[in-house]
Symmetry: C2
Subunit: 205 residues, 2 copies
Amino acid sequence: MEIPSKHLQQAVDAINTLPGIGKKTALRLALNLLRRKPEEVQHFAQSIADMKEHVKFCSQCGNLSDGDLCAICIHPKRDQSLICVVEDIRDVLAIESTQQYRGLYHVLGGIISPMDGIGPSNLNMASLVDRCANEDIKEVILALNSTMEGDTTSFYIFRKLSGLEVTISTLARGVSIGDEIQYADEITLGRSLMHRTPFEQTMSR
Amino acid sequence: MEIPSKHLQQAVDAINTLPGIGKKTALRLALNLLRRKPEEVQHFAQSIADMKEHVKFCSQCGNLSDGDLCAICIHPKRDQSLICVVEDIRDVLAIESTQQYRGLYHVLGGIISPMDGIGPSNLNMASLVDRCANEDIKEVILALNSTMEGDTTSFYIFRKLSGLEVTISTLARGVSIGDEIQYADEITLGRSLMHRTPFEQTMSR
């Protein structure tokens, strides 16, 4: 399929570089933009350029920020002695949307994955150790995915922090609320039996 | 889910306006762009702005073009007496990719759809009648989708051109090549029986 305009071709090629967007979808999106008013398309392109230019990362936790420190790190009511370690900014957003967590974060920016050539030095890892060593941190919660790479990363952090006076915990694993027990996979069900919770605690909210 | 940076929020909102891209996908795409090199993101935004600024529409047929007339209209080997009427630029690309058609096109830019408030005056319709009346056009092929709106539009064009010395034809409808006959819908199968083709003709290519 040959596109009869090189300018459209360039836009389609650019949109095609986005993850999960193929050539046909890219063309559909480009033609949608082409049908809009000029100022609307200008605004579209400008807001993407602005994002890259202005969005910063928090120098303390690696979260997104418009300034040097992010809104969570400078929030006066946040528990400064509690750090939740996550892989990605989207995990911060997911945990924030639960409204259950009042501590700080530490965004690694990825996980240890030898297959992709990502080691601890490629991640925001050294600053986590610094924070735990130099600040008054009581607990570190490891909130990484329970994949091979996630578990490796959790174990690496556990080892790195084991000399310090910090409690290290991890997310509870178990059968999701609303899931049927008969369809739960055996590892999850086994884990939720092993770490069963006193019934009174489930009534606290 | 509250995004902690207003610049990122603006980019996500812009990407979210694209058809078929929801809030979560928009965030995923924006974060992907955010991880790239600044010059790469600059190029991305620029190629979209350039597209809107430079892409023109052919003054004769409404196809995409980098100049006043599109590459198909000015091609010396194209049959200038044959016009294929399509709804959208993507239909031109689809028909071109068959390499079976050597005539010209006429892109309506939509179809008659009273539900969406689109009438003949909103479409590139008057210029089609002009072309047929003033140029030496022998045949007009109606290549519109066989929906209620497509059929209405085809019929409207048929009526508009009926006074002129132009043959009006439409795409053959029938069972797709590769489809199983037992699964064909009854209208398609009925139509393909009604317009059955002499067997020798199917051997011509």
